[in-house]
Amino acid sequence: MILFENVGFRYGRGPEVLQGLNLEIPAGSFQFLTGASGAGKSSLLKMLYLDEKPTSGRISLFGRDVTTLTRDEIAWFRRRIGVVFQDFRLLDHLTAAENVALPLTVAGARESAYRDNVAEMLQWVGLGDKMSVRPPELSGGEKQRVAIARAVVASPDIILADEPTGSVDPEMAERIMSLFMEMNRLGKTILFASHDLAMIERFKMPIMSLHDGTISATAGARA
């Protein structure tokens, strides 16, 4: 599903952020990605949601070399990938429901066709009563749950998470973690980046550590 072969990455003419990276993430797996701040976790995820291209080596996604994708193909691939960010990245001028519906709207679906699906998603994350509230009036934990609902509403195959618990209190972090576990149980492939080793170690899932631009250690086994 996700395959890195000797991948190197840098921003423009900057220093190597990632180098000689090899990794394979099979479909349906749950993989934590850890490493100090600045280790390159976000950069690795950016390449997976096709915002950056590897400078060297090869990344295969759904069996395709990502550097060969056209702009339209990138858009179609992104519909099979859900992303959750530390800073939520919700659209403040849209309601919670409209934010959740975004991946469906941009794919051309009609509101009448997905209304129930969106409502169900918001109920699943515990925000069934906040459908028409806009993000500025939501708490951090609520925003992140809207973002999670948005990430899964279009039934993607892969869910990428970049420090999704970084901006919420520990109790909410727990709740958010359980949502990811549930998505994995439903068959989603999950790559979850966090620098908070103490927190992720409790979940008994495989952990990769990024250090000096490459994977330095893998630990843990599938529970």
Partner: protein, 291 residues
Amino acid sequence: MSAGGRKSGLIPFEAASGFLMLLIVAAMSFLACFALAGSLGTTRVANSWTDGLAGAATVRISAGEEDRARRVSLALDILRETPGVLDARPLSEADVAQLLTPWFGSTPQIGELPTPSIITVKLDPDMEPDPEIVQARLDGASSGAVYDDHGRWRNRAASAARAVGGLSLWALGFAVLAIAAVVYLVVSIAMAAHKNTISALRLAGAEDRFVAGVYQKRFFWLGLLGGLLGAVLALVAFLGMDALSSVTSALPGIEPPAYWPFVMGAVVLSAGLVALLSARVAVLTTLRRRA
């Protein structure tokens, strides 16, 4: 939730920049209506003038010539034998005097003025004779007659009409260019202002043409509205001009033709379409440049 299915609300748009561009599109549509009116109007006026002059010629034998009666009948004989001439007849002195009235006034002494003899010639419009050949034949008989098929006037009228038509085309081109440019500018500014929203849409799986669609739709309607505003103002201005009926009676053919509403409709629709196309180009180039 109500707006969830509507594309238009996905990317916010500042009403102020919409209003600004509305004004410019309205001004350009106004200009385009006038350019088209100018071009169509002059063509019609020129046509009515040249149509009036076509099929007719005059032969003049100047007052100074000796033996004018003989020369006139000689010229008449030559003309009547010329292929393409349907009819040739001399004007009476009274007719000539009447022609000269605007210049000399209707004074009884006009008969004492040295007036030329004039022959009016009716030509077959489908095979007008070559004026040089006719002149050569008249000269050959040393009739002293001067043949004039008004060709110079017709050419001048036609080239004046062409010149005005050309200018109108330029004005029209500039109007289209100005609409395209202002839309491109406003779209670029709007996209820069909502860069994060657009990248959120892209990240959610929006194709470029989806983003373009949001702007295209919005600017098509804005273009249409601006175009309509300009056309209505132009119409009001035309009607005001029509009130100066002296103008229309002096220049027959300048009054708006029956198909004029369609021309205005085409201007309005074109404003919308130009805005749509320019918005599309602006979005696609901006997104590609950003990637």
